[in-house]
Symmetry: D2
Subunit: 308 residues, 4 copies
């Protein structure tokens, strides 16, 4: 299998299956997006463009980056292949072996099968569903999962199934098993923690590594952990922020995808900061989900390469 | 003496002396800026406006803030007093006693007598001197003090005395004594650490409390301590920042005056971050010095009230 | 009548009526917000604080601004009045006559009775209703009015009446009459044009002057008129923006309340700009509506004073 | 000749000569930056990478962009060529003919020979010279030219020749001839108008097209022409900005390279806006000069492609 085996984050088998299905269906010209990373060395761009050109394909847009720190090379190509993805897949298979590359290819614009997980605060959920409906966000929301039932009406309004999976200390393992079953049964490719106030177990983090995006309500690494706005208020900062990152077992330490801040003053109470911060949170999370879904985010150790 | 005895930061005696001098010289109409803080209670604004009005003065602009957390009230008034500052001073003296207020009054636009301290990097110094010359920054640069001689030519170009006070582990106490002598002899009111790579002793921090501004090259509280840009690069943040704060004995924990950030990507090396960050550093420091010199920054415990 | 007769923008009679009603109901301690403007002169702050203090009231927060260009003075006071608003009203009545001031007073946090007008694009409406529900926006949405029925479900989801008033060249006068009837019948105080793609008649603009907020999808005065994103794309700008302003008979020339921008590159098509711009539009409009509803925006000729 | 003949902007002959000289000198491995634009068609990236690979070169970094509006394709490649630039030049010569491409190649990091033109305001000049000295800006300042002598000391401090060429209505033609002689004699490649308050003649604009960068002190297309800050103040905007653009005969209409804004309030006078705006001006101009000097800016009709 060629798909999705990144240096650091292994995709769950069902992800491969899901993506693999697409291969059979395609036969005529289509737009594809190809991402890869491998040890930096001469000839990478040429080899990739050779695969494309020798199959009468055309590069629409492309970006590359060589990281002198890690010695890794990253590439994202948007291409048009008149003979479909089959021959490109074959060529990339050989390329992957020769260059020691991990790579992925997908139809451009194909919405990722996504679960959005929530607790009680609806600003991020509302925003994601709004953007998804109006075609700004290439995700297909398979289900909204909440550990509380509060946001069911929002999911319902946007015509999405809502599943309540409560989590207590005792039921945590069972709850995560239920979630994982859902993910597998529905071929879910992306899990978005949209102010989901539960911590995933280490096992689940590893199982879904690279495919779970969380929004943390501070400008990391400032104010890790609980009640970041209260911390921010106490410290008297003049900007507050939010951080979207991949979830790892190491809490609030996962690779950062996007961050932003907004200005505050001495007048804002902690409660005000919460309200002001929600704007930044939903904007940053939506941006990260969009870039991830467009295959613009590549993992580079504990950091990310974002071809935006 | 009524001046400058703030709740948390006591002014050195010579500061009082220096400000006190101004009192004698004034006799006719002048523009004044008055700042005060005291326990919140009814009648503060009325009492202050009463002092002004009963002396035929006029309020040009004014801002107030009551902090529900600390129960303190803060006020900044720009006023015109046709009979000079004398009667206003007298009224405020009584007001201060009655309301338990700490307060300061100064001629509007009077440049603060300032020392800028530097090491080898000149971006903040160049910026401050440029702004001072072109009248955007109401400071009077009494001297530039460096622990290295590198930036003497910059001071010289702007016609400012440059004093080299090297600091080693052995000479630190003597160096600080020399600095303090200079501050006293020259009636210095403000010390700006413009990328001065030395840590002031706890005693000196206390002695000059509330009158020393430092620029830290990170978005505090992220990346305290040494090499913040290397830390930022390792963490893979998407924004880098700078923080101007009052210096306290608690390193990088002083009250924050101003912060700002700028966007970076995966492409920037630590070296690039240093270069990009310099722009933010100098902008943030200049802003903080400007607000401080215009008496817009009031201390509120470990935080600041900024009437900008 | 003392309420709402601003220098340039007269409130419709029913506005006064609506506000006036509140006077009777109040008898015990309450928080009030007072705004005023008048020709600048000594003693204004003192006179206002005198009214408050002599009625045992307390100033919580206050801001003033004197405009040297127009010679006008502006003030906003948040106060607590233990005897209710009655005596403050009386005092301000006399103050208004003596100082030639226009002034308004309202209960702090009282939601303004608001109509939101829309066409087909729902991003601003969705955002306003979301914020209103979660108490970030002090408005009471009396009705959503659309010239198309498309957004009825959004209004319905948030439990707001939706009224479809189609507008054609022939029916424009009748449609506006219907709108005005609704405004009067419902004591509407604020009309928000949330991407309402119709131009109000000059008469209606005058009738509702100072109480209609529009969002224009460009950084005014750039790209007035139709299709601003296409204009922006053609010009190759590197930032696109949005502008919230009071509606006047002079199209896109009303007093600006708030503006913001976001960065774009050569890669974005006009279509992309539209999508990116929606984020700025809804943020800017929500900010302007919030400030207006909190009585933070005062008119200063063709400009605004925003006490934020 | 292959160099610098862009679709819309022809380089003056001496530019070619100057760049051509470099060809002879190089023989061993070097880092090069290659930029090209041509009608979009399959095989461009492959052909370019073929030239590089077949000469044992390596692509360090590369960006491409196809503009669906104009049908043009743009590419920037940073490469390492172990056999020097000679064989790459030869390959590109053929490529250029085959694909109808205009292209340029330069040694990476080679400072562009630059003239900075000024009048009386020194903030942009001071900033550019500071950055150039501390190696953030890859330009070689051949001369500072002023129509007033005021800024001679700034040039002198940074060790740059200052040439005063006054301009009056009568002497304009002679002054421009003198400037053009200097440009030719010194093989100048870039002219930066750093708040130079004179308008270049149409002929000079054409002669230097694509190689003159101006900073306009507004967020174009807002507030074209004279006194933009006064215009901004009158309109009551909430953000002011600056625009760096290539100079064309059509005043303030040249292709935009970079823009930025900063927030202002009702409190700022026109004079304040001027001071605040200077920060944005110098930052935007320095950014544009840096990108241009690093060959990151490609012309796309009246717009730019910026590979930053």
């Amino acid at each position: 299998m060629n798909m999705g085996s990144w240096a650091e984050f292994r995709l769950a088998p069902h992800f491969n299956y899901c993506l693999g299905m697409a291969v059979e269906e395609v036969s005529t010209s289509e737009k594809l997006v190809l991402t890869l990373s491998c040890p930096d060395q001469p000839g990478i761009v040429h080899a990739v463009s050779d695969i494309i050109v020798s199959n009468d394909g055309n590069i629409i847009q492309s970006q590359q980056f060589g990281d002198p720190d890690t010695g890794l090379f990253f590439m994202r190509v948007e291409l048009e292949s008149p003979r479909g993805r089959g021959p490109i897949d074959e060529g990339m298979e050989k390329f992957g072996e020769k260059f020691g590359a991990t790579w992925k290819m997908d139809r451009m614009g194909r919405p990722l099968r996504t679960i959005i997980m929530v607790s009680r605060e609806g600003h991020c959920l509302t925003d994601l569903l709004y953007r998804q409906r109006y075609a700004q966000l290439p995700i297909e929301v398979v289900a909204v999962v909440g550990n509380h039932p509060d946001l069911a009406p929002v999911a319902q309004f946007y015509g999405k199934p809502f599943l309540c999976i409560p989590v207590t200390k005792e039921t945590k393992a069972a709850s995560e098993a239920e979630l994982l079953n859902l993910i597998r049964a529905e071929n879910v490719e992306l899990v978005v923690l949209a102010r989901y106030m539960q911590i995933l177990s280490d096992d689940l983090c590893r199982e879904l590594a690279g495919n779970v995006i969380n929004i943390h309500h501070s400008f990391l690494p400032s104010f890790k952990g609980a009640r970041p706005y209260a911390q921010a208020h106490d410290r008297g900062v003049k900007l507050i922020g939010a951080t979207a990152h991949y979830v790892t077992a190491d809490l609030d330490e996962g690779p950062i995808i996007e961050q932003d801040v907004t200005r505050v003053t001495h007048r804002e109470s902690t409660r005000d900061l919460v309200a002001v911060g929600q704007d930044v949170e939903r904007r940053v999370l939506a941006q990260a989900v969009k870039w991830h879904s467009e295959h613009r985010v590549l993992l580079n150790g504990t950091r990310t390469v974002v071809f935006n």
